[in-house]
């Protein structure tokens, strides 16, 4: 039971909980105590000594971060004793700190600079030589200047406590103490950029941002990161209409105070030279730059000519498009009389039913005691969701997985079942049957012939023994032709074990797509759109060679002579140029206002941080004008917020469709194709620094010995363009491709 206690800080009566640190009470009350090593999200180290305060009855000043409050305590943060202590500590900290603020990127936003101004002395009494520390390179994202380090160990604790990969450490001792990684291999964590944010000095700064612009010259704009299901809150920092840097913005219920490296460094993609800047039309096979008016006329005339009936028209959109864009695009498509629209381009079975809902919030995820992760390398797919599960594991939760490969998670996996895509249904059925057996419920017919293995029973047992379990379904399901059954079984497993669920198979802004019903009711889905005889297409930020499950077929299909393809894209792409008839340049991330709906169904709207590059326009405006030119009704919007209001006021249609339980035939050997997190959408694919990281460079087709023999593959061969790595962490009967290369793949 938490009891309120009363203490006095600087004569002010304040309240705290017994056991709460003085600094945390002071922070809540707005009383300023200087600090370097203390961070509200990290453990208390009390090694910088900057937060010394005077406590009545104590002979010496005490650190406010590690001193716990007790009733009646009288604390002084700015009396003579406290001030003398703070000034002395400041002097010691500055002994070895270089005076290079004018050339330090942290200058102007440096905690050391600020605290030195406030609490330090004007002049230094130190005349001896300062120490210099050699830098170890730690990768493409973080620039190190370790001579500036004050050994607060925030980055070390961040690695051990938050990232879950201990990479930085304090080596040596005394004056030789250094903060460094073991080898200069580069930091591997997908959350590493947060070390830049926690570093109170200029020792760890952003490498892509280095020497670019001073911090006080930039505007900070509140916005939302659009790459994953979380919608992390960020600031874009802009200068002369360019995003120069992205930093985390606190939102306890969404991203706490962290963001993934993908969200932090992807802005480089937006600034990439490979953008489409001018509207282009293709006349007799030749591309011509043209005006917006001409391009829009060309597009609408083409649609009129090629899609005499609405049903000949099909629309494909990126899963990262904004709510507004998706809403208008579906209104546009349905206004033309077509129901052929989809965003699930990487699904080999884009079934109509949305079988699995997410029903647990990010904050609740920390309170689970078991997580079953199915078909997902969650750490790289959804770093912030994985982070919440890791926090749960630190409180004792266990995690089991059903995956095609044993992945490198940043927590211990208690039970792992390796299963190829073609066996996933059997494995999940086994677990479900074991669950039914344990709770002695009557078996549904389709489970009668299922064999239950010991591993299935193990997972069923941990699920049943858990009080608050969760089942997470991930991206690898999308390539599975039995994906509807997989999702259905996961949902049944959750029901049978009273577990909450997270559907992380569809990432980006897919909750918005579902909200506005951006999928066919009776029309054609993505696969059908790309294989039937439609004659007019609209593609919205789609790059088939990466985005479509069967890229070769998609490109061939769109290249047909009788097909008219209107492309609204933000990036230039060779294969798109080969089949498109008109390319309308649209604004990329941070250049348009919009709304992102996250896994908790929280709709977060944001405004544009910078103007659109070149002549490109926000997507919603382009769709609106196309609709106007085609005389479609209901597009009288002057502001994107009106579109969001209308989209969010509608209740999404729920299509109750029975999921088939018959097995569709799958080949004996299948492929699971996963992009690196830095190849997951077009913006991040163009972010050069992320591509240079270990995660970004990953490209290997893992296969076990037995399967390699069947496929006649040996180490180093190319499998669908990706180098083969033979190891026993992969399930038999499948090849697990993890790559940054475009898909060279027929369906599974």
């Amino acid at each position: 039971m938490m009891v309120d206690i009363e203490i006095e800080i600087d004569g002010k009566v304040v309240h705290g909980y017994p056991g709460e640190s003085l600094i945390s009470i002071a922070d809540r009350e707005g009383i300023d105590i200087p600090r370097f090593c203390y961070h509200k999200k990290l453990s208390v180290a009390a090694n910088c000594r900057m937060c010394l305060v005077d406590i009545e009855g104590n002979p010496t000043p005490q650190p406010a971060c590690s001193t716990l409050s007790s009733a009646g305590m009288k604390v002084h943060t700015n009396n003579e004793k406290a001030k003398t202590a703070q000034k002395a500590v400041m002097e010691f900290l500055l002994i070895n700190h270089p005076l290079d603020c004018p050339i330090c990127d942290q200058g102007g936003e440096c905690e050391l600079q600020d605290v030195a101004m406030e609490y330090g002395s004007d002049i230094s009494r130190f005349t001896e030589g300062k120490r210099i520390v050699d830098d170890k390179g730690i990768g493409a994202l973080i620039q190190t200047d370790m001579t500036r380090c004050i050994h607060c160990t925030r980055c070390v604790r961040f690695g051990a406590e938050v990232a879950g990969i201990v990479e930085m450490g304090a080596t040596g001792r005394g004056e030789d103490l250094k903060i460094e990684p073991f080898l200069s291999e580069g930091i591997q964590s997908e959350l590493s950029g947060n070390m830049i944010d926690v570093c109170p000095v200029g020792a760890l700064t952003s490498k892509p941002f280095r020497y670019d612009v001073r911090s006080w010259q930039m505007n900070s704009i509140q916005t939302i990161a659009r790459h994953d299901l979380v919608g992390s809150n960020i600031f874009t920092q802009t200068h002369k209409n360019k995003v120069k840097r992205v930093v985390a913005r606190d939102n306890e219920s969404i991203n706490e105070t962290w963001i993934s490296d993908r969200d932090r460094f992807s802005y480089q993609g937006v600034n990439n030279e490979n953008r489409v800047l001018i509207p282009k039309i293709k006349i007799e096979g030749e591309w011509q730059d043209t005006s917006w008016d001409d391009a829009l006329d060309f597009a609408t005339n083409g649609i009129k000519k090629h899609a005499k009936e609405g049903s000949q028209f099909g629309t494909l959109a990126s899963k990262n498009a904004t709510l507004e864009e998706l809403y208008l695009l579906q209104k546009f498509t349905r206004g033309l009389g077509s129901d052929n629209l989809d965003y699930r381009l990487d699904a080999s079975n884009p079934n109509n039913a949305k079988v699995l809902e997410s029903n647990i919030s990010l904050t609740e995820l920390e309170t689970i005691d078991h997580a079953l992760i199915v078909n997902s390398y969650l750490r790289l797919e959804q770093p912030m969701i994985n982070h919440r599960i890791r926090k749960a594991t630190l409180n004792g939760a266990s995690v089991s997985t059903i995956n095609a490969k044993a992945f490198d998670f940043n927590y211990r996996i208690s039970h792992s079942v390796l299963t190829s895509p073609q066996n996933t249904v059997a494995t999940l059925s086994g677990v479900l049957k074991a669950l039914h057996d344990k709770s002695s419920k009557t078996l549904p017919d389709y489970l009668n012939s299922v064999t239950v293995h010991e591993t299935h029973t193990d997972i069923a047992n941990v699920l049943l023994n858990a009080k608050n379990p969760v089942v997470v379904l991930g991206e690898h399901m999308n390539g599975n032709t039995c994906s509807d059954q997989v999702a259905k079984l996961v949902s049944e497993i959750a029901k049978a074990s009273d577990a909450k669920t997270i559907n992380a198979s569809l990432t980006g802004n897919t909750h918005s797509a579902e909200r506005v019903n951006f999928r066919p009711d009776n029309g054609k889905n993505a696969l059908q759109i790309l294989s039937s005889d439609l004659t007019a297409f609209a593609l919205f930020d789609v790059y088939p060679n990466f985005d479509c499950i069967d890229s070769k077929n998609a490109i061939e299909h769109l290249s047909r002579d009788d097909a008219f393809v209107v492309v609204m894209n933000s990036f230039d792409d060779e294969s798109v140029s080969s089949f498109a008839n008109v390319i309308l340049p649209i604004a990329s991330f941070y250049e348009t206002s919009g709304t992102h709906i996250n896994v908790d169904n929280i709709a977060q709207s944001y405004s544009a941080s910078v103007k659109s590059a070149g002549e490109s326009k926000p997507g919603w405006k382009v769709i609106k004008v196309l609709a106007d030119l085609l005389n479609l009704q209901g597009f009288d919007f002057t502001d994107s917020s009106q579109i969001a209001d209308e989209a969010l006021s509608l209740t999404p249609r729920i299509s109750e469709i029975e999921v088939p339980t018959s097995n569709s035939k799958m080949p004996n050997i299948t492929t699971v194709w996963q992009y690196t997190p830095y190849a997951s959408d077009v913006v991040v694919r163009h972010a050069s620094s992320l591509q240079q990281t270990q995660i970004g460079q990953m490209s290997e087709a893992s296969v076990c010995k037995a399967t390699a023999k069947l496929l006649k593959l040996s180490e180093g061969d190319l499998y669908k363009g990706v180098p083969v790595n033979i190891n026993e962490s992969v399930a038999e009967g499948c090849v697990f491709v993890h790559t940054n290369l475009p898909r060279q793949l027929g369906v599974v």
């Binding site: 990969i165 201990v166 990479e167 450490g169 304090a170 080596t171 040596g172 073991f182």
Partner: protein, 157 residues
């Protein structure tokens, strides 16, 4: 990387700690593999110790660089660990270390040409009453003088 014999020795230390706390045996493990490797550690060995005790490599590195017991470069057959802390220093350790360096034609941290001896400055070894002092192998040599050093070096084979 780690021999079976070394693993056996490490296991006796691991057994002294509660289950799951095997990383507590890191100092002994490092000592054992260092001894087996002729008195010094390599990155690969530290990596192997980390893997064997299921702990992050950087944490092994932290311990290995904190204590003077571990050598990160190859050493001679005998390591003269010479104390240079306050009591020994006041009693002339600096001069004796210089003498030693001159005599062996090495600097601290280097190995003599015959590969027999290397010199290392270390922090207090707890024998202040006998300073200046040094440690060679498991043996302490106290109240050192230049003459005594000559005798000791002559005795090393």
């Amino acid at each position: 990387m780690i021999s079976d014999q070394a693993k056996k020795e490490i296991n006796t230390w691991v057994a002294k700690y509660p289950e799951g706390k095997q990383s507590s045996a890191v100092m002994q493990a490092l000592t054992i593999v260092q001894k087996e490797n002729g008195g010094s550690l390599t990155n690969e060995l530290k990596q192997a110790v980390a893997d064997y005790l299921e702990m992050p490599t950087i944490s092994v590195q932290e311990v290995a660089t904190f204590y003077e017991n571990y050598n990160h470069k190859p050493v001679g057959k005998h390591v003269v660990r010479f104390c240079h802390n306050i009591s020994c220093m006041l009693n002339g350790s600096d001069e004796l270390i210089s003498y030693l360096e001159e005599k062996l034609d090495v600097k601290t941290g280097e190995i003599s040409k015959d590969g027999l001896v290397s010199v290392k400055r270390v922090e207090c070894l707890g024998a202040c009453v006998g300073g200046p002092m040094c440690q060679i192998g498991d043996q302490y040599y106290e109240k050192l003088t230049k003459k005594r050093i000559d005798e000791i070096l002559d005795g090393l084979k």
